[in-house]
């Protein structure tokens, strides 16, 4: 299961993009903008695929680290996705309890 360098780079950028995406939608949930139409359209379409993506990236990076393949880049991917997952869990608990 050897992945090419370009695939690893794509995974890294996707992890970074999903983290920024989730930070943005969490920010908008606390201070909603005046017009929500565009956010709702893109958000409804992207949120679930993005969640699946971070879970996939996390598991894939973990698997690659355990196999000791290109550890440095996969640790970065794992860390980014772990931050995303922990961040979303905390926000979910906070919003469900409020």
């Amino acid at each position: 299961m050897e992945s090419s360098y370009s695939t690893q780079k794509i995974l890294l950028y996707l992890s970074l993009f999903s983290l920024v995406y989730f930070i943005l939608i969490v920010y908008w949930s606390y201070s909603p903008p005046n017009s929500t139409n565009t956010i709702r359209f893109i958000g409804e379409l992207l949120t679930i695929p993005m969640l699946m993506l971070i879970i996939f990236n996390f598991i894939y990076a973990l698997f690659q680290i355990l196999k000791k393949r290109k550890t440095k880049i996969f640790i970065t991917i794992l860390a980014l996705n772990l931050v995303s997952i922990v961040f979303l869990i905390i926000v979910t608990i906070n919003q469900l309890n409020s």
């Binding site: 908008w28 949930s29 005046n34 379409l45 949120t47």
Partner: protein, 331 residues
Amino acid sequence: MKKHSLILIIIVFTLLIISCTSENEINAGVNKPQKTTNNLEQNYKQLPSDTLFFQIAKNNYLITHSSKLNKGSVTSSLTVKKYNDNLFSISYNFDTNKEHWKLFQSNKVIEKSTELKNENISIQNLTEVNNLIEDYIAYIFSEIMDKKNKKIVSTINYHKSIINTTIRSIENEDTCNCTVHPEFLIDKSFFNCQEDHFYNTSALKSALNQYTSENSDIDSSTNNLITFLSTYEEQTISYNKYYSFYVTNEDFQIFINYQTASSSGNCAWWCPLGGGSDHGCCGNYSGCCLYWHAACYIHDKMCSDCKPSWFCLPGCVPDAQQPPNNTLTLY
């Protein structure tokens, strides 16, 4: 001698002017503002009955209100200037041809209040503007009520409610909340938020005492209210609290959601992809759905109660719930 009579004439003349002014104010029967009177009288007499324009200029504020009715559709705006600088402006439109149009107004007021809150205007300015409108509203109503269309006059209340809701939200450090007043729904009053209406506790107690003395058969809700009031010590009680003894806030909200959802769903029966607010349609808008996707369908199904809000995104509207079997009675 001549000098003394001149002083005497001046004193008598001054007293006469003062007494005449006081008499006029009493005869007017309302708190008649001094600065705007001329403007107001000139403007409302010049404009037709389906158009309203007035300005209040006081304490460095210039509040301009205008509204127009066109075939049941009302457009209005309120602009506030302080020291000639624009402080804020609110535009408010509603269409009385739309089915259940009254039920949509509280959400619109909340939306406009949120916009106003996001402009970060100081609570002091908002309170001063609100107080100015409060000072003049009785006089304005008394002057225009029989000359203007009621829908046009009612626009003042929407703007007042938006400002009040924003003030409440800032004071309570909470989101903007406004529950439509039942009296507005049954045409007994113009639009008001329940949260802005307060009863004097002693007046309410005496009214209930009179009611119990005249009626032997008292319902359980009224009995509960009387029991609650016997230990209630505040001078005023919010309408919200009072009304919750008859219809709980939750049931009232369910009723409103059900009515608005059922009325908006009917218009999309002919759309190939359903309505813009249906499950599966990406986004949430009125009219026909423009883009349907399975990801949006799963997302909409998971967000039937809009929780958690980060996942359900801003502008989420919970699915309408059926009102409980014990049918809701509006008082």
